[in-house]
Symmetry: C2
Subunit: 369 residues, 2 copies
């Protein structure tokens, strides 16, 4: 039986889950809230793969409270299998919960409804699908990775009103303002990987680290796609302090002598097959997925954006528009990507807009026709 | 002495003024509200050049009410000179108003504070500058035209996320959705002129008329810039019913034989000098200003947008973004326009955003560095 406060508590569980975003891969981020006799008992969230799940953290936080007859709100279906930790479903039964409210079913083929059946078989009332959309949005990366084996690919770019990434091709040139930059660092903080093509790495010479003002951020793995290893060893990315490694992805035909120079600097080299346009991007994603990279923020440039759209490999976009005109000598947002007409254009599903100072961010899932 | 209700009544006057928008050129649109003993007496607005001003319409609408001691709210300083109608200031004095609240001073060199001085000399209390920003925004076209002699130039375009006007250069292709199209027709309804370049006229073959769902719209004068008269006589724009004329602007070197074919169809030909990139746009604007065209919506294409930006002749922009990618075979928003860096980029001042279905509109005054 659903109660008026169900949404309130599930929303609280969603907020708990968010605390783990970008830190739980390959696990989902999950939040849990325990309520007994209409009163909040405790909360918990999953912090990191290999550590206790949200439900267990919430139970632990409840201390000496007798949980018999209590309700637990969980953003994701409790697990029924033994992974690196024992199954949560058993713990819920042991604790004596009389009701479990679930945000979304776990798409993990090893769970996928089995957790809910287990609970019901043990006499626990289970309601599912509460705030499901928000729970799904929390775990786009996990869902994609656990069902397809590849990371959730996020297109990111700072663009002028006329769709340019800079003012003069071949020269670095900032488009967006300070508020947008801050938002980019918040995005970097919650993804597993950040990716750029070699031209961007060479021209912009970025650090690709996370710099937050208010708290310590987490650097994502920094991934450079560079068919021929053209990025100089002197680049910032290879020579700065970061807790995250740099992975350099190049073609299989690059000489050992060349790769050795990077390996000597503790840079990991990943060699993949090429295709007609450069590296085989599907193969790149498969390799990243196998390494438990569940989400990647792709920061350009135009050629990489064009290639990911062409191959329908982008899942989501965060586009930051600055209210200025950059002119037609600038690099366009996407290159080498042809669209026939409106019907065949990739589009954002229900795009969200957010104002960032004078800039505005447009975000949404990318749908391919 | 300002009262708490002043803003309320001035806002009402602004709403009145809006009813005349796009219909009063070369006059401003003006609204007036009369209040006596804290009660609304009547309202009025200026409907068309040559007809009574807002103040007079409000006085007429007050009927038999004795206006001695009443207050009138006017969005623009009342006129002190005899134009096509006698000066409103004298009418306000005769009617016995004790207070006049003015939104903005009339920038018309023949008024420019003289109305306010006149009223004060006749013992009327005058407050100025109430909701001034809104009153100014109402009359961007009038202000530009009366002070500079040229029309308020508005850039308008439907753009993809990657800054393209269509999918394949040389082919027509709609980018934006239904809600955006409706908004475009609302914009057309309140401007004096609508302008396209010859390439757009040829490729899109538009009608450039105003089609509103809820009320009868007003077609603006349809202006085509076409250096060599390349647009075929069979184009829709020359062959459809419209209450508004078509003005075809071409170079002075176009033969009489060629222009005669258009003149025979009652199309007005305006010949101007050329410059290195086509027609001399400053000369075009001067001609339009002399013809009392106070505002022009420029609907493209890329070359015209680029030229207006390059020559710093655009005053305002309405850009409609559809949440889709059009690819790099599409025509970019602006062409032949080069920007060196962020500091030299034209930008929108405090851009406004408006959601239109899945599209979003970005609007603002264009500032040049």
């Amino acid at each position: 039986m659903k109660t008026a406060n169900d949404e309130h508590y599930m929303q609280m569980a969603v907020q708990e889950a968010r605390k783990g975003q970008g830190r739980t891969s390959p696990n989902p981020c999950v939040g849990a809230v325990i309520v007994k006799n209409g009163k909040l008992v405790s909360k918990g969230y999953h912090k990191k793969a290999g550590t206790p799940h949200a439900e267990i953290n919430a139970i632990t936080a409840s201390g000496s409270v007798d949980l018999a007859g209590a309700t637990i709100y969980v953003t994701l279906e409790p697990c029924s299998h033994t992974g690196r930790t024992p199954p949560c479903c058993e713990a819920l039964v042991s604790a004596g919960f009389s009701r479990v409210v679930v945000g979304m079913t776990d798409p993990n083929p090893r769970v996928n409804g089995r957790g809910i059946s287990f609970l019901r078989r043990h006499g626990i009332a289970v309601d599912t699908g509460l705030l499901e959309k928000r729970c799904v949005e929390l775990n786009y990366p996990f869902i994609k990775h656990v069902t397809q084996g590849t990371p959730w690919m996020i297109m990111k770019a700072g663009v002028s009103l006329d769709g340019r990434l800079n003012y003069q091709a071949g020269k670095s040139g900032w488009i967006t303002g300070e508020e947008s930059k801050k938002e980019v660092h918040r995005l970097r903080d919650v993804v597993d990987g950040i990716m750029v093509g070699s031209a961007t790495a060479i021209i912009d010479n970025p650090s690709l680290t996370t710099r937050l003002n208010d708290k310590k951020g987490k650097d994502p793995v920094r991934i450079i796609l560079d068919s021929h290893l053209a990025v100089p060893l002197s680049s910032t990315i290879f020579n700065q302090e970061s807790s995250a490694p740099v992975w350099l992805v190049c073609g299989k035909n690059v000489s050992n002598e060349k790769t050795a120079r990077f390996r000597d600097k503790n840079i990991e080299i990943i060699q993949v097959d090429g295709d007609e346009n450069g590296l085989d991007l599907r193969q790149v994603l498969t390799v990243l997925g196998k390494r438990d990279i569940c989400s990647v923020l792709v920061e350009g440039g135009a050629r990489l954006h064009g290639a990911f759209l062409r191959k329908r490999l982008y899942d989501y976009a965060h586009l930051f528009y600055a209210p200025l005109f950059a002119g037609d000598r600038g690099v366009p947002l996407v290159s080498s990507f042809e669209v026939k007409d409106r019907e065949s254009a990739p589009r954002l599903e229900h795009p969200q807009m957010k104002r960032l100072g004078e800039d505005f961010m447009v975000s949404g899932k990318i749908l391919y026709p």
